[in-house]
């Protein structure tokens, strides 16, 4: 089972220009669009919606197919992250200022595009560069390791950002994931 929690906050702006689309299949697929990026020259919400529709309707489709369809809809300047995660592995395709980090074995590392094996208890956060801006790696790691849930992990990180910005410096978008394959199964 993949436990996750999503943050979508306007961050003191009139509009929320980022977006998150999630497909709850056997493997969870999420698309995180960074529409509020300072590098974005024009709002491409329509493209993001189309790409989001690909993700939302992409249950059972191979990750590579979804990734190439999403890339087809998104402009070259668009910044986004596509992730598919299960108990065993994670696949990532990210462009621009959205990326994933994994908290594991004492450290936090940025996940490259491609496939990586996962273990029970692994914790992954995907976010925009604005979300990460006020967070250090030790902060992300400790918050991950003291949290009971993906929601609490997000709360701890948001509290840190809040202390420095009052959440008034633009849209904040992120997702936290925890791999939980130690569910207790009751034998009938």
């Amino acid at each position: 089972m993949i436990e996750y929690y999503t943050l979508m906050h306007r961050g003191g702006r009139d509009d929320y220009l980022d977006n998150v689309y999630i497909n709850h299949g056997e493997k969870l697929t999420a698309f995180l669009y960074y529409g509020s990026s300072d590098r974005t020259t024009e709002v491409r919400s329509n493209e993001a919606k189309l790409a989001g529709a690909v993700v939302s309707g992409g249950r059972g489709r191979p990750f590579d197919e979804i990734a190439s369809d999403v890339a087809m809809y998104m402009g070259n300047e668009s910044e986004y992250l596509l992730i598919r995660i299960s108990n065993e592995e994670v696949m990532i395709d990210s462009r621009g200022g959205v990326y994933a980090m994994i908290a594991k074995k004492g450290d936090v590392r940025r996940l490259p595009n491609g496939l990586m094996k996962l273990d029970n208890g692994d914790r992954i956060v995907c976010g925009t560069t604005r979300f990460y801006k006020k967070l250090t790696k030790p902060a992300i790691y400790t918050d991950a390791m003291i949290s009971f849930s993906s929601e609490e992990w997000m709360d701890f990180m948001v509290c840190r950002i809040s202390e420095q910005t009052m959440l008034s410096e633009g849209n904040l978008t992120a997702i936290t994931f925890i791999v939980r394959n130690d569910e207790i199964r009751i034998k009938e």
């Binding site: 030790p138 918050d143 509290c159 008034s168």
Partner: protein, 299 residues
């Protein structure tokens, strides 16, 4: 058999004895190397680290100063440094809650209990957290909410660190020119921020609330939430960890502490202490801090 041995030339007999002795020594060395390899592998697996074969040394310094308060309500503990290789290092600071009775006694009781727990199992972090909760419950029974204290504690072992925290004392890591408070403060601000975020609002109101610094959990509370790391953090050469009461971060903003990262723990402690003194803050709280500087080299 003996006759056959006697029949051999002296040179041959010497050569056979030497060969047997060499074989015995080789066997002993092989067993010894194998044993140590397995032992090291087990330790590496247990700590979850890839072994680079080097244990970082920990240099420790501290200050324990009374501010403008009537009593010194901070207490601290540093585990025996000569056991660093074997059991690691535990340091903690407990800050008695001001304005309440027994703050000094309670913080003293807490560090004494922690001292009594030494040596702690590094991998039994859940049990340690549970033991800390029991200390809090014991204080709750003894003082019946007429006082309380915070607790900030670290356990360093084999280049890894676990943290434990109840209340709002600080565990600060200085690394790569940046300082980070590792433990979240269990005060009302956290609750207000969470509420405002859920409502999609900005969070200025959380910080201007008159009760924002009130603790929502503390030692002396019944069954407090003990914050602790379920998986230890890896430490690196040059890391500085400061465990302190909030008298330090009230006087010096935590995000400026990285500039005090000098080459030695003593110098860091001295500079920070002098900076606080020189500020002459009229209502300066008591301030206690333990600095641990990790570096390559001999302990």
């Amino acid at each position: 058999m003996f006759d056959q041995w006697e029949a051999l030339s002296t040179e041959l007999r010497t050569a056979i004895v030497a060969a047997l002795a060499l074989l015995a020594v080789s066997l002993f060395l092989a067993v010894w190397v194998g044993y140590n390899w397995v032992k090291r592998k087990k330790m590496t697996r247990a700590s979850g680290r890839k072994d680079n074969g080097e244990l970082l040394s920990a240099e420790i310094a501290y200050f324990h100063e009374k501010g403008k308060r009537d009593k010194q309500e901070d207490s601290f503990y540093i585990s025996p440094v000569d056991e660093y290789d074997k059991n690691g290092l535990v340091v903690c600071v407990s800050d008695g809650m001001g304005g309440m009775r027994f703050g000094d006694e309670i913080s003293h009781d807490i560090v004494n209990e922690i001292k009594g727990m030494w040596p702690l199992s590094f991998f039994g972090n859940e049990k340690t957290a549970d033991d800390i909760r029991k200390i809090s419950n014991m204080i709750c029974s003894k003082y019946d909410f007429q006082g309380g204290a915070t607790l900030a504690m670290i356990h360093i072992y084999n280049n890894y660190m676990n943290i434990y925290s109840v209340g709002d004392s600080d565990i600060i890591l200085i690394r790569d020119g940046q300082s980070t408070i590792l433990n979240p403060r269990q005060n009302y601000v956290s609750y207000l921020v969470k509420k405002l975020v859920r409502e999609g609002k900005e969070t200025q109101d959380a910080y201007i609330n008159s009760k924002s610094r009130a603790l929502v959990d503390f030692m002396g509370n019944k069954d407090p939430r003990v914050i602790y790391t379920t998986e230890a953090m890896k430490l690196t050469d040059g890391d500085v960890i400061i465990v302190s009461s909030d008298g330090l971060t009230d006087a010096i903003p935590w995000n400026t502490l990285a500039k005090y990262n000098h080459s030695g723990a003593r110098k860091i402690a001295y500079t920070i202490k002098q900076t606080i003194k020189s500020k002459k803050i009229p209502k300066q709280d008591n301030y206690t801090a333990i600095m641990v500087r990790m570096s390559r080299g001999v302990v």
